[in-house]
Amino acid sequence: MHRNLGTEFLHVMQKRTVVKILLIFTLVFNVANLFAKEPEKEEDGGQVNTKSQIDTYIEHHLQDSHDFTLWSDGETGAHVGFPLPVILWDNGLKVFSSSKFHHGETVAKVGDQHYKLDHGKIYKTDAEGTINYDEHHHATNVKPLDFSITKNVVTMLIVGVLMLLMFGGLAKSYKKGALPTGFGRVLEPLVIYVRDEIAIPNIGKDNYRKFMGFLLTVFFFIWILNLLGMTPLGVNVTGNIAITVCLALFTYFITQFSANKEYWKHIFWMPGVPVLMKIVLMPIEILGTLTKPFALLIRLFANITAGHVVIMSLIALIFVADNVYVMTPISLLLTIFISVIELLVAFLQAFIFTMLSALFIGLAVQDHDHH
């Protein structure tokens, strides 16, 4: 009897929770529908499709570009920013300013060759600027070798110079005395943090010194670039997969070239297991050395890209909303909230990258005597 009552009660309660959850869901969806405007028909009667415009804007932001545009005016077509040098290798070196492209609108004539921008890439073309596409909407024109100083390259160069000045100053200040002066006082605890929290626990007291240069560089490089990505400069360097691939390759090669005999033994002929197991484990271990840096590069790339997309999408809420006066404060609050989280992520990703690099190096150089 009691039991029946109990189950009955539970049943009613469960029903109530389900009803409550459904209610909340309908409420949330209705509110969301209230603010979401139907997308305008594409180029219908002079009206623009706001959603696809936002999509292209975000896509454009995530990509590298040949000019440093701070902002542009959609109505007048004016771009505020500065052009960057384009360096091409196409039967000889060709150097010209990216202002010749007029932000991808015109064909650049260099010597007797014509070049045109399509989705941020340079293609060879004729005087009319025709670009042929295959069935996947990829351009089939010839691509010259592109060594241009793009937006990402400029940003990386600036960060490099900045780091050289910052840490050069810190190093120089130790000649005068044990205490650093000026901005070095801010940097010293960070350097010590990387040494004491990242390098020594993972690599070990005996071997860590050799790798401090790499770990410190990678830590501050990623951190400063992540932070620059949050400024209105609109740079997205660590959210570019080519750059994270390069950073991960550094970790990979440093790990492989500093590895000791024990490390290779554990990869090719795992001690302490039956022979059959040794043969099975060998390809897995070799694959394992590759998946480690792969996870490293994907993590950094995806985290930063996701952060940029989320922030831009939240700002874009203003433009798809029916009632701008209601949506603007909501969008602003959400953006500030996510931005604060992104500040944390900027540090965390630099920390994780350095930490895991140190861990992989540590695995390769440590003695495995305890087995």
Partner: protein
Amino acid sequence: MEIPALVGAGLIVIGAGIGLGKIGGSAMEAIARQPEATGKIQTAMIIIAALLEGLAFAALILGK
């Protein structure tokens, strides 16, 4: 019928969420039991969370 890619993304996020919840929960318990080891536990927690995150992101990007 083709299953949309977003369903896969949702599944990945559910899996990653369960994993992160377990890591965070266990770390909380461990910290409550041994508050003096907070630093070490946090570092280990972040490493595991990062490995899980890398896996989830790899799945999301490869599935796209």
